[in-house]
């Protein structure tokens, strides 16, 4: 609750949180929120403009754009979040083990990561999708396979930095167990950095899945997905740009909100950044007051 209170003090963070939370909620409750079935074709309404019944108009098959946008949250955001969670949890667990215990286990795990990271990510994702076939499940699987090593590598570096700190040595002297140290002393301190890493990945994964769907390798028709909706609107890009703008803007808004939220989360979680943020706002406030006084004079 304290965290939420602190987040709410930052307007941009509060707005970003509202956007992310609303997106997730709308995605989860899509059947209740969507005004029409997303796959219901109506050729009479082909490329129809916005109306009171169809707020964002209709696509090339006369399907409701708004409903498809709402249902599109599920593969574009919710499933990406699940894949990110799986990759981040697996990578974080291995990164923690490697960074904390070092030695042989670190050397072995990092060599495996080196091998995984030596493949170009996007090409490997395409290769996995090519081997297993197009479809959301295969893309998400490819994401987990390709991303865990990156998470493990980055989190291991962060953990190493804290595992060497004198306060961790002191905790060891006190007789706190490895799990306790990892949980209370390292995970807590590394959390701001991990949240930034994870959220930046979230943004890039949303863009990637939309990109793959745009190329026709993602979710299969007739299911709705933001990248696929953009692909379908490609042919009428200049005559009906709003068909492409709706999913495009949705991607931009969600990815930006996630990025802003992660920055704010880092500031809130790290007391050092919180203090410097306060100082900066005090300094800016002081400067503004000074400028106003000058203007008044």
């Amino acid at each position: 609750m304290k965290l939420l209170e602190k987040l709410m003090k930052d307007r941009l963070a509060a707005a970003s949180l509202a956007v992310v939370a609303a997106t997730l909620l709308i995605g989860l409750c899509a059947p209740l929120v969507a005004p029409h079935p997303p796959n219901e074709a109506n050729m009479e309404l082909r490329f129809a403009g916005a109306s009171w019944t169809y707020w964002l108009g209709n696509d090339h098959l006369g399907r409701c754009i708004l409903s498809r946008l709402i249902y599109g949250i599920r593969p574009s955001v919710l499933w990406v979040l699940a894949a990110l969670g799986a990759a981040a949890c697996f990578g974080a667990a291995l990164g923690f083990i490697a960074g904390y215990f070092r030695g042989r286990i670190d050397a072995v795990l990092m060599r495996i990561c080196d091998v995984m990271l030596s493949f170009p990510g996007y090409v490997m994702t395409l290769a996995i999708v090519g081997m297993l076939g197009a479809g959301l499940t295969n893309i998400l699987l490819a994401f987990v396979v390709m991303k865990w090593a990156w998470f493990a590598r980055v989190i291991r570096t962060t953990v190493m930095q804290y595992a060497d700190a004198d306060y961790v040595k002191f905790a060891k002297v006190l007789g706190i167990g490895h799990l306790g140290i990892m949980k209370r002393h390292i995970a807590l301190a590394a959390l701001p950095e991990i949240s930034v890493i994870a959220s930046s990945s979230f943004g890039s994964m949303i863009l990637q899945i939309s990109g793959l769907s745009f190329l026709g390798l993602g979710i299969e028709a007739p299911h709705a997905e933001w990248g696929m909706m953009m692909n379908e609107a490609r042919s009428v890009m200049f005559t009906r740009p709003e068909l492409m703008l709706a999913p495009g803007l949705a991607i931009i808004v969600v990815v930006s909100a996630v990025n802003f939220l992660s920055d704010a989360l880092q500031k809130v979680l790290d007391p050092k950044l919180a203090v410097s943020g306060k100082r900066a706002s005090v300094r800016i406030g002081g400067m503004l007051r000074g400028l106003r006084k000058k203007e008044a004079a």
């Binding site: 004198d166 002191f170 706190i176």
Partner: protein, 245 residues
């Protein structure tokens, strides 16, 4: 009593895959008795800090044993409430997300205490700080203040021995003297002992009853502080000559 018997320690030069090992400590023997202040001095790279980590039980020796009343210090139940530590880098000695209150609470809770604000206030006053520091984060403290909090934290579990690993090296001259005075005063009032790892002979002579000189991973000489001028080994003589000149 803390006893070190025939301890040797080496590390691989280039990580786990690097073949060559560098010997850091060779056949070290030492004894620390209750209430005593033992200084371990030597130049950088002589193996003092490695010896410190072995004494604290946070690393295992390749050979030999480190025991507290006959039980190995690597067993964390043996260390709990008996040994504590103050390290050199005060900037990383306190959890960056903990306030002074949380930092002091941790050891107190571990030894089974039910600490309240009064107890923590008393601890802070003991080290020359007051209750206003209770809700401060480490980055809001000066070097001297942070090191005082570290000392209060080390003292809080009422250990019999505190290992000070270069605990004053990164402080200003005047603050170094204040911290040394504080440590001396705490020793007199509580009866606990220190193992003071430092490269500063004068500081060791001020605080310790006995001084052990380490060179290239071996103990060259052990001498009572009043006899420091009469060291026998050439290395110890050279070290003293550097300080006097």
């Amino acid at each position: 009593m803390l006893k070190v018997e025939g301890v040797s320690k080496s590390y691989r030069r280039n990580g786990w895959l690097g073949g060559e090992r560098q010997q850091v400590l060779r056949q070290v023997h030492l004894e620390w008795n209750r209430g005593e202040s033992l200084g371990i001095i030597g130049e950088s790279g002589s193996g003092k800090s490695t010896l410190g980590r072995l004494l604290l039980g946070i690393e295992k020796p390749d050979q030999g044993s480190v025991t507290w009343n006959g039980r190995p210090v690597t067993d964390r139940r043996v260390r709990r409430g008996t040994i504590s530590a103050v390290f050199q880098d005060y900037t990383s000695s306190i959890h960056p997300f903990y306030t002074v209150r949380q930092a002091l609470l941790e050891p107190l809770k571990l030894v089974g205490g039910q600490p309240d604000t009064k107890d923590m206030g008393k601890l802070l006053r003991q080290v020359g700080l007051d209750e206003s520091y209770m809700d401060k984060y480490p980055h809001e403290l000066s070097g001297g203040e942070a090191q005082r909090v570290c000392i209060a934290r080390a003292v809080s579990s009422a250990p019999q021995c505190i290992l000070l690993d270069e605990a004053i090296s990164s402080l200003d001259g005047s603050v170094q003297m204040q911290v040394l005075e504080l440590l001396k005063q705490l020793k007199e009032s509580s009866g606990m002992g220190y193992i003071f790892i430092t490269h500063d002979i004068q500081a060791a002579a001020f605080l310790c009853d006995r001084i052990m000189i380490v060179c290239s991973g071996e103990i060259v000489e052990t001498v009572a502080t009043p006899q420091l001028r009469h060291v026998q080994s050439e290395y110890a003589k050279e070290l003293l000559r550097k300080v006097i000149s």
